[in-house]
């Protein structure tokens, strides 16, 4: 985990500094800044030092939970906090819904392979993982916001008026479309994997043995087969949380959802380097926490892994 963290931070740090002198870039907009201010900024950000020295300064700061000050003058950490919450508000419900709907669908598909229902489910999933997430979002905006006018198309909360009467209803109305899109796309991956795993597991001898013992079909499938088929899924859920977090820029920008992804796009556009590095590091830490949770859950589900 620590090498991953160091690797990501070094990569981000190097790439974002490859553009050249950050102050020169900042100054492109403001030509009138006096040389004294430039000099003091240079000293403040340690820009007079070589890149690797600056990296250690930055690492030292981050170990003290100090993410630095963004180009707009506010501390990065203060700004990122609410964005993390907004991103999770979208990601976690989508993940839970996708797992809850995906598992029964995948199991159904595997129990009736090549039936009409299976073809329908597989096709539904296939379209889900072949579609650009943000494009599905755009389609929903066109239909539900622009033509039908049922749902808001942008933001996480109303500015001019409240949707559906109350504060809570308003948040739900804003959440609904991005949530549906994200759920569908993640669901597609899960259905595909669970179906594949279940197909293999249902052919194992121990399933035959369980059937021969006269256990009910429900017990055989859900208690015995699913438990084995689901262990790889746990890894995938963790991974797909990661990739959906990393893929958030597209979807969040489409819905102007003020989360980490959207703000990352904004920061990258304006080359706000402390902000870019800050957001990348926060996303990376979230990914690593997700991986850790995955490992722990894996240990709980898979009886072969017993910790200490």
């Amino acid at each position: 985990m620590i090498p991953v963290f160091l690797g990501v931070s070094i990569l981000t740090f190097t790439i974002s500094n490859a553009a050249g002198d950050p102050l020169a870039i900042l100054r492109q907009g403001l030509k009138s800044v006096s040389p004294q201010v430039i000099a003091s900024l240079r000293a403040y950000y340690h820009l007079d030092q070589p890149l690797y020295v600056r990296y250690f300064y930055w690492l030292w700061d981050i170990l003290h939970l100090n993410l630095g000050v963004s180009a707009s003058g506010t501390p990065v950490a203060d700004k990122i906090g609410p964005w993390v919450f907004t991103t999770l508000e979208l990601q976690i419900p989508a993940l839970l819904l996708a797992v809850l709907i995906g598992i029964p669908l995948g199991v159904y598909s595997a129990r009736h392979p090549y039936s009409k229902g299976d073809v329908a489910v597989t096709g539904f999933a296939l379209f889900g993982y072949s579609m650009p997430t943000f494009w599905l979002g755009l389609m929903m905006i066109i239909i539900f916001s622009l033509y039908l006018g049922w749902l808001p198309s942008a933001g996480a909360a109303g500015i001019t008026r409240l949707w559906w009467g109350s504060e809570l209803g308003d948040r739900l109305a804003h959440l609904l479309m991005p949530l549906l899109v994200l759920t569908y796309v993640q669901l597609a991956t899960f259905v595909r994997l669970i179906r594949g795993n279940m197909l293999q597991t249902l052919r194992d001898d121990y399933v035959l043995a369980a059937r021969a013992c006269g256990l009910s079909e429900r017990t055989v499938v859900y208690k015995h087969a699913l438990r084995n088929a689901i262990t790889p899924i746990v890894t995938i859920v963790g991974l797909s949380f990661g990739s959906s977090l990393a893929g958030a820029p597209g979807l969040e920008t489409t819905f102007s959802w003020p989360g980490l992804g959207y703000q990352f796009v904004v920061a990258t556009y304006s080359l706000d380097i402390p902000m870019i590095v800050g957001i990348t590091v926060v996303i990376t830490v979230m990914l690593m926490v997700a991986n850790l949770i995955t490992d722990l859950v894996y240990g709980m589900i898979d009886p072969r892994i017993r910790l200490g």
Partner: protein, 309 residues
């Protein structure tokens, strides 16, 4: 029919046997693949898009990124006979843009995958075939590249390099970035396969015959682990196309070359008045990616028939 005499019957049989032997694993896989309707559909979709990509310079009525319909007074029109996919308010002919975009997106999708496969093969085979520290270090690097938040880093790199450092590289830079960040999946597969293959008898035999490490890897190991790599690479093309579309949709791609994402970005700007600018390039993406996914799944079924009846 010269071999008529009874003394030649044996020969005929042997010829037939030879032919059988020629029906190697590829032919067997192809025979199995042919029976898979979804896989075949995927193959045809992919071939269709490849055809479009190659012929797009001649098929499309307007050059790429041309706002000419604006001067013809036909900007912002819904689909019609003259403009099958409509025109954007800024003057793009969407039909031409989608055709040109096919070339751009397939170029990035396939090219990035080739780079990723080459790096993945190199890293994976070294990590799989060597023991000790080198293997550990390579694994750790792969792990780092596998865990990083891919899209943000690519967006950042595209923004920095495309605009400030390497102007004029255009789509090729996106291609390289996608390839350079995308190889760990291949590396893991290669390493796993090599660990499986390297203790098999025929490898030991060639080692006993005095073959060097490089020769064993290139001539004996890699041909035998090619099939899972081809499957993964096909699916990877699909993923790379999707990522490229996101990159150019967000405005971090090459603004001088037509891509589907760039057209969708245009559509996003005018989304209130024209649906066609958003819908058609998105549909093109959807079907191209669908094609590669179906093809990949079909290949995987054909090569690894465990799940088939």
């Amino acid at each position: 029919m010269e071999n008529k005499g009874p003394e030649n019957i044996l020969n005929v049989d042997q010829e037939r046997l030879e032919k059988r032997r020629e029906a190697n694993q590829w032919a067997v896989a192809w025979r199995r693949f042919k029976r898979n309707k979804a896989g075949l559909a995927g193959l045809f979709i992919v071939l269709f898009f490849v055809f479009i990509a190659i012929t797009s310079p001649w098929l499309s009525p307007y050059p790429q990124r041309s706002y000419q319909t604006l001067y013809e007074g036909e900007a912002g029109q819904p689909p019609s006979l003259k403009h099958p996919f409509g025109t954007s308010r800024s003057g793009l002919d969407i039909y031409s843009e989608v055709l040109h975009g096919t070339l751009g997106d397939l170029y990035v999708g396939v090219g990035a995958t080739i780079i990723a496969v080459l790096i993945g093969l190199a890293v994976g085979s070294i990590a799989g075939y060597s023991r000790g520290r080198l293997s550990d270090i390579l694994l750790m690097i792969s792990q780092i590249f596998y865990t990083i938040p891919l899209l943000p880093l690519i967006l950042l790199a595209a923004r920095i390099f495309l605009i400030l450092v390497a102007q004029g590289f255009g789509l090729t830079l996106i291609l390289i970035l996608l390839g350079v960040f995308g190889w760990p999946t291949i590396a893991f597969i290669v390493r796993g396969e090599i660990l499986r293959v390297r203790e098999l008898e025929y490898i030991q035999a060639s080692r006993a015959l005095g073959a060097g490490r490089g020769r064993i890897i290139l001539r004996h190991v890699i041909p035998n682990i090619l099939t899972p790599i081809i499957v993964t690479a096909t699916l990877m093309i699909a993923g790379n196309i999707l990522t490229e579309v996101v990159i150019s949709y967000l405005g971090f791609g090459d603004v001088n070359t037509s891509t589907w994402g760039l057209t969708i970005q245009e559509g996003y700007t005018y989304i209130r008045t024209e649906w066609w600018t958003t819908v058609f390039p998105g549909l093109a993406t959807l079907f191209a990616v669908l094609g590669f996914n179906l093809l990949g799944d079909g290949l995987s079924d054909a090569i690894n028939p465990r799940l088939r009846d």
